[in-house]
């Protein structure tokens, strides 16, 4: 990883020096050895702080949204999942490809700094830290799908047998059991909207939940408003979620959000598929739910 880090620094310095980009998005070390954090380098002398280690889990494609109204040229480092985020943004017309210089890194799987922070915080009973973060355990695209330069050795996708295991388990329950499960899970939500903010597919300029005329979803932390929030958000993700798992990772109350997203991924794949969101960018291509075809199945609606 150190070799990749050095290579990233080299590229960043080269791009910033030549003026090919004016911002380079990568990571720097946080306050603890188990914490890395997004870092925006703007000049060659800032490049030194860049790191690339096993805690660089954040999806930097989300940070591109901060620049959608600027004319900055941006270099950034993406792992496999993050690169799908870029395809998402390109497909959604949020940023122009020509403004990006994409450094792809074939990703061996990351560790979650938030879990490490929590384990060391004294605010939770420590959990055993898995070899790779939860979100990486069923990774299918460790290798970037879009890049200008590729670093690292090609990685093999992880086994998929457990990808839908939890979704399947829930589908096996009775309607009342399922409702009880989601009632328990979603009543924990504190409506901090971290899941939305961490999501690259949540790129609407005016989010439906911030819309006040009319107010579509109430702001109470009551079960009905919470459920409404999560169901509406999930529906907006259908066919668009790139499975980077950031929403679930950042949730401060540990709501298994990917359980809902994966269900929709599974359905979209079944009804419209085979389909994987954000694996290939073709100009003008749209996710399946943004298109109408006569043979579209009715039961998804």
């Amino acid at each position: 990883m150190k070799a990749i880090e050095n290579k990233i620094k080299e590229i960043a310095a080269r791009l910033l020096q030549s003026g090919e980009v004016n911002i380079f998005l990568a990571w720097e070390k946080g306050d603890y050895e188990y914490q890395s954090k997004p870092y925006f380098a703007r000049s060659v002398d800032e490049v030194d702080k860049i790191v690339f280690d096993q805690y660089c889990i954040h999806n930097l494609s989300n940070s591109l949204l901060k620049f959608r109204d600027s004319s900055d040229k941006i270099g950034l480092v993406v792992k496999g999942c993050d690169s799908r985020g870029i395809v998402r943004l390109l497909q959604d017309n949020q940023i122009e490809r020509s403004r990006l210089y994409i450094v792809g890194v074939a990703c061996p799987g990351m560790k979650d700094p938030l879990l490490a922070m929590k384990n060391n915080s004294g605010l939770f009973k420590p959990e055993t830290e898995p070899e790779v973060a939860a979100k990486c355990q069923t990774c299918r695209y460790p290798n970037p799908v879009i890049y200008d330069e590729l670093l690292g050795d090609e990685q093999t996708p992880r086994p998929q047998d457990t990808r839908y295991a939890q979704v399947d388990a829930i589908e096996q329950m009775t309607a009342d059991e399922r409702y009880k499960f989601f009632e328990d899970t979603l009543s924990k939500c504190i409506r901090c909207y971290a899941c939305r903010q961490a999501c690259v597919a949540c790129n609407c300029r005016l989010c439906i939940f911030d819309e006040m005329r009319p107010q579509w979803v109430g702001r109470e932390t009551s079960l009905s408003d919470n459920m409404m929030y999560h169901l509406v958000r999930a529906s907006h993700m259908a066919g668009r979620c790139i499975e980077c798992g950031e929403c679930e990772r950042v949730c401060p109350v540990n709501i298994p959000l990917m359980l809902i997203n994966r269900k929709l991924i599974k359905d979209v794949d079944k009804f419209f598929g085979p389909y994987d969101a954000g694996i290939k960018y073709e100009e003008g291509s749209k996710p399946p739910l943004s298109l109408y075809q006569e043979n579209d199945p009715d039961n998804f609606i």
Partner: protein
């Protein structure tokens, strides 16, 4: 949508869509009658309600 509602434990019959043209009066009638009978069979919805 239907599938998602089912997933979180709402009976799928509570949400139905049908494509009915303005000229298809009979189909509209049948659809509505079926819907009403489905809902009557299910009884009042206790899920997703406000806690007042």
């Amino acid at each position: 949508m239907k599938s998602l509602m089912e997933y979180i434990g709402i009976e799928p019959e509570r949400y139905q869509t049908a494509w009915i043209s303005g000229a298809e009066g009979i189909k509209f009638k049948e659809t509505m009658e079926n819907l009403v009978s489905d809902i009557t069979r299910l009884g009042p919805n206790r899920k997703l309600r406000d806690m007042r």
